[in-house]
Amino acid sequence: MKRRIAVAAALAATLVGAAACGSSSDSSDTPNANASVNGAGKTIKVWLMVDAQSGWPEVVKQANERFTAATGAQVQVDYQQWTDHLAKLDTTLAGSDVPDVVELGNTEMPKYVFNGAFAPLDKPQFENSAQWLTGLSAPCELDGKTYCVPYYAGARVLLYRTDLYTKAGLTPPKTYDELINAAKVLKEKNGADKQFSAFYMPGKYWYAAMAWVHGNGGDIAKKDGDKWVGTLSEPAAQQGLTKWAELAKTYSSGDPTKDESDQDAVYAQGKSGMIYGNGWELGAVQEQPKDPNDPASAKVKTKVNGKVATAPLPGIPSFLGGSDVAVTAKSPNADLAAKWAQIFTDTKSQEGLIAKGVLPNATTLLDKAAAVKGNEATAQAAKETWFVPMAPKWSDVESANVLQNMLASIATGKATVPDAAKEADAKINEILNAS
């Protein structure tokens, strides 16, 4: 009886062209992005991070419009903050009213993939999937299945003040020594202002400090047999931390207990010579929304408008940051969600990102990105990158703030580099090897 009803229902559904929506788990676990779904009257919920709202709202808009044109379904985008989005996601996913598509940072992804939060996807259905950047796609893979789609990448570069450089007779540094020399000259010329930072470096900026670690041949942790071992106290890593701390203490007058979240606003005050930031921060430091609470409000030019340029940071490999989007395992509209992810990450959407100074998700598109003016430095930086340890529990190290707290204690002078590194190693060992 039950089966007959199911057959009848399936038949009826096929007749009206609304095939297997949400009941996709009956046939297979993999949502089908190419299924012809009549989404009229449906709304999928998408959680994106705040960067899309402040940096490239047009890209989201065009993807939503194409999605609605293709399926008839509407999209509701909720923007999340980096500080608390994981705790929010955990509690939401525990319930039944879940978002259909979720963006996560590529370092955050493995834990969720590992714990079954997301539905497996049919990789070939996504454009450029054969050329995805491994830093973005590796966290999506588990047991030969793909659980998320690379969305964008970010490489960090040096942002410097062209006017101050010209006045001091400096050119963009080609070696690390030249960089330090530039910082020294800028400090001599502008040091009369107590608030001036030759190189503004927040004390908890772990993406920066770990780049110094990797640049000196160190690493955060490595796998030894089936155990993870923190390696920050090894000589090479310590050397990197020491060099980073020297730079931060000597040339930055910023708060050693801050992270990088407001460095654009600080830099826009015109009291810093250089910062280390994502390629798209070049735009963010020069133009900011008039009303900080409304990212859609008119942009106003900041004090440093037209006086900033980017260059690769010599000798320091860039962290390959970025985000992936995934379809939640509990999504009631999994096919529609996969369709949205397909449109949001296709070449057309990626080109929109490239125009905004954001790096695309595939190697084939990187050359296109390098051709866009202002992107040269980031595209070049993306060629030499490092990534966090690929441990399933890595994001616990991030959310426990192990690295930030270690760096803050070094930057404030509370602990020496060897002591702080040793303490951090112990914590990393405990977290990564926790059962």
Binding site: L86, D90, N115, G116, P256, T257, S399, A400, N405
Partner: protein, 327 residues
């Protein structure tokens, strides 16, 4: 109220033993009758409390004996029972003791400062002109009405090292260099800021309550003391404080309960990522449960917090009933 109170007058009882017995029986019966109606009347409130407070509390206690992580959460799998393992983990953890010590130290300091300043403000309110008193009450009501989150966010901006007005103002003093001063690099300074926020928000309740209490201090007593040559300090210590004592005890216990559960101020001021030297019990339990997805361990930490506060709460309830008896 009078029904319950008047029969307990002991004078009538020795006069006639027999009728007294009969009355006692009747009293008991009437007590049962009266006992049912209050129960029925409070039932909705009790049900609401059981649903909103009781159920989560029971769930939390059960959870504290289980291991619940993301896998169970996302897959709707049943959590695993692990007995006392979570509690063992807490009580063998060095961090736990540091966090408890920090929480207790903060509670003692902040409550002392709040109560003393609150009492001072209340005493001041008795001395000033009525118009000034109303202005004070209005100002304090605003402080009281402001959500913790908003107030803390505002304070955070005031003390921000790059954009904060506090550094700017201090830096204006000749010979003082406070440009880009970080208030949180040194935990002592950081805790001063946090305590200031908590005290600032805590004063209105205490001042307004104690001000109401002060109106109960008989003027004649104070005048008599003045005539007898008592100093202001002596009057305060020997007359005002003893009369205020029950109220003082209640506001102090309440403050202890509130401040012991400190969370918002630390969490917001440290941008959602408190460093180790800023962790208190509530933020620690939250970090464990929600940031590291160890919900069982987090619940156990919360249960321990509740147990620690239970003593204070028992004391508070006793005081409440004592005051009820006096009335």
């Amino acid at each position: 109220m009078t029904v319950v109170d008047s029969p307990s007058a002991p004078v009538q009882q020795p006069a006639a033993p027999d009728p007294a017995d009969g009355r006692a029986k009747g009293r008991r019966r009437s007590a049962t009758r009266a006992g049912f109606a209050p129960l029925a009347l409070t039932l909705p409130a009790l049900l609401l409390l059981a649903g909103l407070l009781g159920y989560p509390l029971v769930r939390m206690v059960i959870l504290s004996f289980q291991s619940l992580g993301l896998r169970q959460l996302f897959g709707n799998l049943p959590p695993e029972n692990i007995g006392l393992a979570n509690y063992v983990k807490i009580f063998t953890n060095q961090t736990f003791y540091e966090v408890v010590a920090r929480t207790v130290a903060f509670t003692v300091a902040s409550v002392l400062i709040t109560v003393i300043l609150g009492l001072a403000v209340a005493l001041l309110m008795r001395r000033v002109a009525p118009s000034v008193r109303i202005a004070m009450i209005v100002a304090m009501m605003f402080v009281w009405a402001m959500p913790q989150l908003v107030a803390t966010q505002t304070f955070r901006w005031l003390v921000d090292s790059d954009f904060g007005v506090l550094n700017y103002l201090i830096d204006l003093l000749p010979g003082v260099d406070f440009a880009n001063h970080s208030w949180f690099a040194d935990p002592i300074q950081g805790w001063i800021v946090i305590t200031a926020i908590v005290v600032w928000a805590g004063i209105p309740f205490i001042a307004i309550t104690l001000n109401a209490g002060l109106t109960q201090v008989p003027k004649e007593l104070l005048e008599a003391a003045t005539v007898d040559g008592a100093s202001a300090w002596q009057t305060l210590r020997s007359i005002t404080i003893p009369i205020l004592k029950p109220l003082l005890i209640i506001v102090t216990t309440l403050s202890v309960i509130w401040n012991f559960g400190l969370f918002t101020q630390v969490y917001v001021v440290r941008n959602g990522r408190p460093e180790e030297e800023y962790q208190v019990l509530a933020t620690w339990a939250y970090s464990t449960a929600f940031k590291n997805n160890n919900y069982g361990l987090g619940s156990a930490a919360a249960v321990v917090t509740v147990l620690m506060l239970l003593g204070v709460m028992a004391f508070y309830m006793r005081q409440m009933f004592k005051i009820g008896d006096v009335d």
